[in-house]
Chain length 288, copies 2
Amino acid sequence: MMKKIGFIGLGIMGKPMAKNLLNAKFPLYFYTRRPETETEFVEAGAIACSSPKELASMVDVMITMVPTTHDVEEVIFGKNGIVHTATPGSIVIDMSTISASATKKFAEKLAQHQIDMLDAPVSGGEQGAINGSLSIMVGGKEEVLSKVKKIFSAMGKQIVHIGDHGAGQTAKACNQIIIAETIIAVDEALRLAKKSGVDPAKVREALLGGFAASRVLEVHGKRMLDGNYEPGFKASLHRKDMHLALDEAHHAGVYIPAAKYAMQCIDQLVMKGHSNLDSSAIHLLTEE
Amino acid sequence: MMKKIGFIGLGIMGKPMAKNLLNAKFPLYFYTRRPETETEFVEAGAIACSSPKELASMVDVMITMVPTTHDVEEVIFGKNGIVHTATPGSIVIDMSTISASATKKFAEKLAQHQIDMLDAPVSGGEQGAINGSLSIMVGGKEEVLSKVKKIFSAMGKQIVHIGDHGAGQTAKACNQIIIAETIIAVDEALRLAKKSGVDPAKVREALLGGFAASRVLEVHGKRMLDGNYEPGFKASLHRKDMHLALDEAHHAGVYIPAAKYAMQCIDQLVMKGHSNLDSSAIHLLTEE
């Protein structure tokens, strides 16, 4: 029998992910505070619950896709949290991007209630969520992952078991700093071309054929050339994720100065009021 | 009739590039100071010349693939240089990585002798040179490029006309700073993973499926995981190219702080005696 899934966090990413679960015929329960989202999902065949607590009593697997570490804590351990009613043997999958160290603590506390946890943050953006082509980075026990692999397959293409609890979040932190630093690299290169009187579009085209090639040069480089910073991935969210990564690096004692510089650029972008633009809009800062 | 080509600079890159011209049946003349290289190419069917000057009197197209801006100047304008005997209408193709501004001056001076010039630096490394799969970034007149396209096709796969004289070198500078900065990004991410107790190999694998994907994460990331820094691209050469890029940025008034930080790391690597390692060996510096 197919596992009953409870979904909490029907935002920009969560909505299309939950839709893909419905399309794959999983029985879907959900909790939302937005009436229009409730109507939309009930009409699509899902079952509305009045709280995470109520939802947890009805399902085998709970997926959380919320903005912050605090939100995850509230949904799991708060007054109306999952933990109060979830049945032993059920599984919490947190697909949010949150603190790796907090994730380890949450997993420990849930284990005391015989509830398993996986951290499973994603990469691929809204488009990847819609297409069901997300890359999913999983932390937690491999045998737990094997129980929910079909669920992941409905939402993503590449599913990698990174390691123990928190390892998925660490991988996501690595992902976010590489993207930020590569955006900086592409930004600097395109400005060097332009100021030298050379067509940056031609440079991008040529460089995509060599060792400088990257998804960022392809996608974000195009955004910079077009001056089109519709997200994509909002600067405010990239800033949040970079903060998590820098915090983790601080506690682990890792020296990552280039990531810190990238964070400064994203900070500046947000402080100038561009938090809703794609983070590649840092190209604007130095162009001005 | 096929154009007669003169090749100067049969080093690590030049040798396989010239071999590919021979394989494509171009009549090949060459100048080298190394007796063993002379024997090798004579046996392969090429014709040895005693100086660039002698070589230039016998061919339609001269290719230079030498280490520095000064070497190119010497080969073209020196006492035994190309310029003294090259016939009007002949073409100099400089495939070295040198200064964009010097390239513009060289092209101007050659034009006074009715000699056309193209700057055509490459990306793809020794392996790309051997496979004939180089990416070639061309500066100069498009009609001159069209006359030698077959020559480029024997050595490379992606041939992009970037713009006027020097534009190829500017594109190459952009290429080198992106590679250096992406190496830094991958280095920081893999160290963050490791110090957080997470398998960096798993992180690389997962990240190759998302927006953090790049040729550098693939190739140089693998080198870092294996601790195998056989070049690839030697730190000493990357340092030379970064110096050219920073010099160009300085004169154009472009703000590229992350490229400068990457240069510091490559500097450090070289100063510690690792100039013959691949430039991704900067991973060693911070691992120690």
